[in-house]
């Protein structure tokens, strides 16, 4: 446990020493909310397209989904594949500590950054634009945790199946943008066409985004979305565990 604690402390320091990663992980969601709310015309005005709600109210759960995608597909995936390529994992495997501990430390650090970043975004939205707090906090937490788990599993699987850090980041980017589309980054809330929504329901981030939007509005996430997120976490996680190479 001492080793895992030390690894987590060191990986946190390394995370913060990488300014771009630290920005995207921690500050980006809040900055995005503030920029959207203050720079885009009409973003804080009630709109008939959204049933009288303001775009910013609908957009906050989507920003959380975006934060999940950024931390998993960019930060976590980048570090893991770089560590393998540089032989960091291999060197660790010569010691009594398993590289699995480093993986665990990485997950702790990235999920920590994600929580802080998402928290900042929520606080920013509430303070700056008077966005109502989520009506079903429990449902939101469940959706957020399951969505993060599913996207972590995707990141691990990509790291497992790609031969190099370049290939990982390439494939990560290829997954990142469709995921953001599925989450409704470009077609938030009611604006998303039904056909797209039906496909998005079955993607990890699309399900997470829908589930968080439902919880924000006061209902519980639909069973379909919970099953999709849980199932994808288990399936991708198992595949990643089977195929992950330490070197």
């Amino acid at each position: 446990m001492n080793a895992l604690r030390k690894l987590t402390v060191i990986e946190s320091k390394l995370f913060l020493r990488e300014p771009i990663g630290a920005f995207f992980g921690v500050a980006f969601p809040a900055v995005l909310v503030l920029v959207l709310g203050s720079a885009i015309p009409g973003f804080t005005d009630p709109s008939e397209d959204n049933g009288g709600r303001r775009p910013i109210d609908i957009y906050l759960p989507i920003v959380l989904a975006l934060a999940i995608a950024t931390v998993t597909m960019v930060t976590l995936l980048g570090v893991l594949s770089a560590y393998r390529e540089k032989g960091v994992l291999r060197r660790l495997s010569t010691t009594p500590v398993s590289p699995m501990a480093l993986l665990a430390a990485q997950l702790i650090v990235n999920v920590g950054a994600l929580l802080i970043g998402s928290g900042l975004a929520c606080v920013g939205a509430v303070v700056a634009f008077d966005v109502a707090a989520p009506e079903n906090v429990g449902g939101l937490v469940v959706a957020f945790v399951l969505g993060s788990a599913a996207m972590c599993a995707v990141a691990l699987l990509i790291a497992a199946v790609t031969p190099s850090a370049r290939a990982s980041s390439g494939l990560g980017t290829l997954v990142y943008f469709p995921m953001m589309f599925a989450a409704g980054v470009w077609t938030p809330g009611p604006i998303m066409p039904d056909a797209v929504r039906r496909v998005a329901d079955f993607t990890p981030l699309g399900a997470a985004s829908q589930a968080m939007q439902d919880a924000w509005a006061g209902s519980w996430p639909r069973p379909l979305h919970l099953v999709v997120m849980g199932g994808l976490t288990a399936a991708f996680g198992a595949l990643a565990a089977r195929s992950f190479r330490w070197e």
């Binding site: 001492n2 080793a3 030390k6 690894l7 060191i10 320091k13 390394l14 020493r17 990488e18 560590y83 540089k86 032989g87 960091v88 291999r90 060197r91 495997s93 010569t94 010691t95 009594p96 500590v97």
Partner: protein, 243 residues
């Protein structure tokens, strides 16, 4: 006392034979050298001994343990310095040593090791900013920080300047004098001659000679050379044209 025993080790990657048939034993407290041309099977041999590779056939015992089955236990007693294995670029020297020492139940004093390897001045420098030689010295320090009974060092002094090389040799002798058995893979026959008690010469996956440096030189048959060096002797053993 034998601490490493390798019998009929064989390992291939696809249809490329890395190690054909290698057997040797290493005694406690000796510095055992493994030399030979690139691709001869040196690294595969030590990686199999350290449990990093699974051999196709043959038996290996290290401190009475099977490196495959008892991998976890062996890790506590063996320190390994690998070729081409790096650390995160932004990790500082002292952080690396402090971190790696936390992996062991009875670690060495990492501050002392840092001083012994001349890294104290660089303690706050990040890995990415170290010179090749400094990276190498840190790598050696990490292999020793767990107070191992056996240290496996692959390409120990590659990239070091002459003074740093000599300092590292002195350090390795000091490590041995503390009772650590050292397995040294090297390209430098000067290094092998100065440091090793015995040397295994590997070529094309087989051991072609195994003896003390002095005996290897004494037994060398090198046409046209009156007083052959260890380099002459090893080249004569491994170069098909000279045979």
């Amino acid at each position: 006392m034998t601490v490493i025993e390798v019998r009929n080790l064989a390992k291939r990657y696809g249809d490329q034979v890395a190690v054909r048939d290698v057997s040797f034993t290493v005694d406690a407290g000796e510095i055992f050298g493994i030399v030979g041309p690139n691709g001869a099977g040196k690294t595969t041999t030590v990686e199999s001994v350290s449990g990093m590779r699974i051999p196709d056939s043959g038996t290996i015992r290290v401190l009475g343990l099977d490196p495959r089955r008892d991998r976890a236990e062996l890790r506590r007693h063996i320190g390994i310095q690998l070729q081409e294995s790096q650390l995160p670029d932004r990790l500082k020297v002292w952080e690396a040593l402090d971190l790696y020492s936390s992996f062991y139940a009875q670690p060495a004093d990492w501050r002392r090791l840092m001083a012994d390897l001349g890294l104290t001045e660089k303690r706050n420098t990040v890995f990415g900013k170290l010179s090749g030689g400094q990276k190498q010295r840190l790598s050696v320090a990490l292999a020793l920080v767990g107070n191992p009974e056996i240290a496996v060092l692959d390409e120990l002094t590659t990239g070091l300047d002459p003074q740093a090389r000599r300092d590292t040799w002195e350090l390795i002798r000091g490590v041995r004098d503390r009772g650590v058995t050292v397995v040294l893979v090297t390209h430098s026959l000067e290094e092998a001659e100065r440091l090793c008690d015995r040397i295994a010469v590997i070529d094309a996956g087989r051991i072609v000679a195994l003896d003390t440096p002095a005996a290897l030189v004494a037994n060398a048959v090198v046409p046209g050379v009156a007083r052959p060096t260890l380099e002459d002797a090893v080249l004569a053993l491994t170069n098909p044209l000279a045979r």
